[in-house]
């Protein structure tokens, strides 16, 4: 799986962008999005997914169930 950002809740504050260890977050059409191909759920980097920990709006960075769980190489 990967994390995704619920765009209707995103304030575009950009706090998540520099925290992502995979450089998976970028701005698109006024809000931020996560590239599912790059997201590792922060596994191998941090105990907590960084976008979730820093986001000022609760339940905005959430697991995207449409992708399989990330497997560390």
């Amino acid at each position: 799986m990967t994390y995704k950002i619920i765009s209707s809740q995103c304030t575009a504050c950009s706090a998540c962008e520099p925290e992502c260890p995979n450089v998976a977050i970028y701005e698109k059409d006024g809000t931020f999005v996560i590239n599912p191909k790059k997201c590792t759920e922060c596994i191998g980097y941090f105990d907590d997914p960084q976008c979730v920990a820093v986001c000022p709006v609760d339940n905005t960075c959430v697991i995207d169930n449409s992708y399989p769980r990330y497997q560390a190489a």
């Binding site: 304030t11 575009a12 504050c13 950009s14 706090a15 962008e17 907590d48 979730v52 920990a53 000022p56």
Partner: protein, 511 residues
């Protein structure tokens, strides 16, 4: 010469509004001690040099000089219960709110455009809408660009302090003379009720631990600023029942670490803001509660009482907001030529006006020195700036409040009256709202006023005064006070306690 108390004539109207609004008008009045005034005489010349053109660091300067904020720093590293980043409404004026965020390049262009249009704009601040030091690259890139293009503009920033110790050297390298830290507590037990979490070392830290880390970093950052010779203003949000009594302790803690100025601001809290405090019904302080706390803290340390709690993209004199004139679309079309000499020439005229104003007040004060009285009165003033009574009563978006006694005049606050979202209030209800906002004042000084509001103000026990139209505020205030004392002596009037007033309610429309 102490007057006696009388019941206030407007109680009926007030109670009617109070019932409608669900809040009482009970007051803790009478506690109006007066601290030392922050006259330039008690300030070191090198400090005065740093603050004399900075509207946020000098009350006197704020009548003459303007500031602007550029919203280049949207990210934040802490969560505060009085802040909600989700609703950014163009019609609201409070910290953390912006209409559009800018890149450092856009910000630099905007600063030059504003500085060329408003020659008395002397200060560029970065105040969010998040935390400038949680966006260090954008903040310092903006400083770098402006430092090169407009070296006469003072740079300053406002931070929650969490990241401050990491950046003091960089701040110093841009000749930043002014840094504001928002410090609402020095005790984590108190802090846990204000800060739900901080983002620290790649983790979300909550509860007392979060507040403990935050207060440690704030104190360390403040000490480092003092050591680096950077003036530090401390902002504190007064939250009744949570940190109101504790702020006296905060005052002592920041004073002992070298803070230059303490700005205790009222909590802005309404359900429509969507903040934790707005939604849980946490109230803000009344005007007299705020003033009493500011008076208690005033001693060796200057208290700021002229803060307008402006937006993170405000432009203009404090109390006015011209940001709508400088949207990104508009500034990109503007042909800007930065003329530093023209700005200097304009500012010299401002300086002459300032000197004249101070001389006029001092001349008026000489006669007052022979008077002995412990009577103090508050007056409300309608002004557009320059230290003059130059606004019509009906056009005033705010009133400035001065306290006058035999020691002289002191600016003690301001009251916004450009309310909206009043839950069905119409035009006919505007006047009672204004009266509520200046109810603790004996008189209101205006450039002009209509017959109708004049009568209603009189009925409310507030003297509408238009005879000082376009004169200097403080000189006129002293004159009025002399007459007032004379009338008490002759028995023409009885000095009475005026009670409390409202600071601001609901949300506010940008000017």
């Amino acid at each position: 010469m102490q007057g006696q108390l009388q019941t206030r004539p407007l109680d009926d109207v007030m109670q009617q509004i109070a019932e409608h609004k669900g809040c009482g008008t009970s007051s803790d009045a009478g506690k109006a001690s007066c601290g030392s005034s922050s006259a330039p005489e008690d300030m070191a010349p090198e400090v005065w040099e740093k603050v004399k053109n900075h509207p946020c660091y000098s009350e006197e300067a704020h009548h003459h000089y303007a500031r602007m904020h550029v919203a280049v720093a949207p990210a934040c590293n802490i969560q505060c219960n009085y802040c909600n980043r989700k609703y950014d409404c163009a019609n609201e004026s409070r910290p953390g709110v912006v209409s559009e965020k800018l890149t450092p390049e856009q910000a630099s262009k905007k600063v030059l455009a504003v500085a060329s249009t408003i020659p008395q704009m002397t200060v560029l601040g970065i105040a969010g809408p998040g935390d400038p030091l949680a966006n260090p690259e954008k903040t310092f890139k903006t400083f770098e660009l402006i430092y090169k293009a407009a070296p006469d503009i003072k740079l300053c920033l406002s931070t929650n302090g969490l990241a401050l110790p990491d950046h003091v050297d960089t701040i110093k390298s841009f000749n930043v003379d002014h840094v504001t830290i928002t410090i609402n507590m020095v005790d984590p037990e108190v802090g846990q009720h204000i800060y739900p979490w901080i983002f620290w070392k790649h983790q979300r830290v909550t509860g007392i631990e979060a507040a403990r880390i935050l207060t440690e970093r704030q104190m360390l950052g403040l000490e480092m600023l003092t050591a680096a010779g950077i003036l530090c203003k401390v902002n504190s949000v007064m939250i009744p029942g949570i940190n109101d009594k504790h702020l006296v302790e905060v005052n002592r803690a920041v004073k002992s670490r070298g803070a230059f100025l303490h700005n205790i601001m009222p909590l802005i809290s309404a359900p429509e803001h969507g903040t934790v405090f707005g939604l849980n019904g946490q109230r803000g302080p009344t005007a007299q509660e705020l003033k009493a706390l500011q008076d208690d803290c005033e001693g060796e340390m200057n208290m700021m009482r002229h803060c307008r709690q402006c937006r993170a993209d405000a432009v203009g004199l404090l109390g006015e907001d011209r940001s709508a004139e400088f949207t990104t679309d508009k500034i990109m079309e503007m042909d800007v030529e930065y003329d530093i000499e023209k700005r200097r020439a304009y500012q010299e005229i401002v300086e002459q006006d300032r000197l004249e104003k101070v001389a006029a007040k001092n001349a008026e004060l000489i006669e007052l020195q022979e008077e002995y009285s412990d009577v103090k009165i508050l007056i409300a003033v309608a002004t557009k700036g320059s230290g003059r009574i130059n606004e019509h009563f009906g056009h005033a978006q705010e009133f400035q409040i001065y306290e006058i006694g035999v020691e002289g005049t002191k600016f003690v606050g301001h009251r916004r009256v450009d309310l909206y979202c009043q839950g069905g209030y119409g035009e006919e209800d505007t006047l009672p709202t204004v009266i509520r906002a200046i109810n603790d004042c004996v008189a209101v000084f205006v450039a002009k006023i209509g017959g109708c509001p004049k009568d209603e103000l009189r009925a409310a026990g507030i003297d509408p005064v238009d005879k000082y139209a376009h004169e200097f505020i403080e000189q006129s205030a002293v004159r009025y006070f002399k007459e007032y004392l004379g009338k008490i002596k002759s028995g023409e009037i009885v000095h009475m306690d005026r009670g409390d007033a409202d600071i601001r309610q609901g949300a506010y429309i940008a000017a």
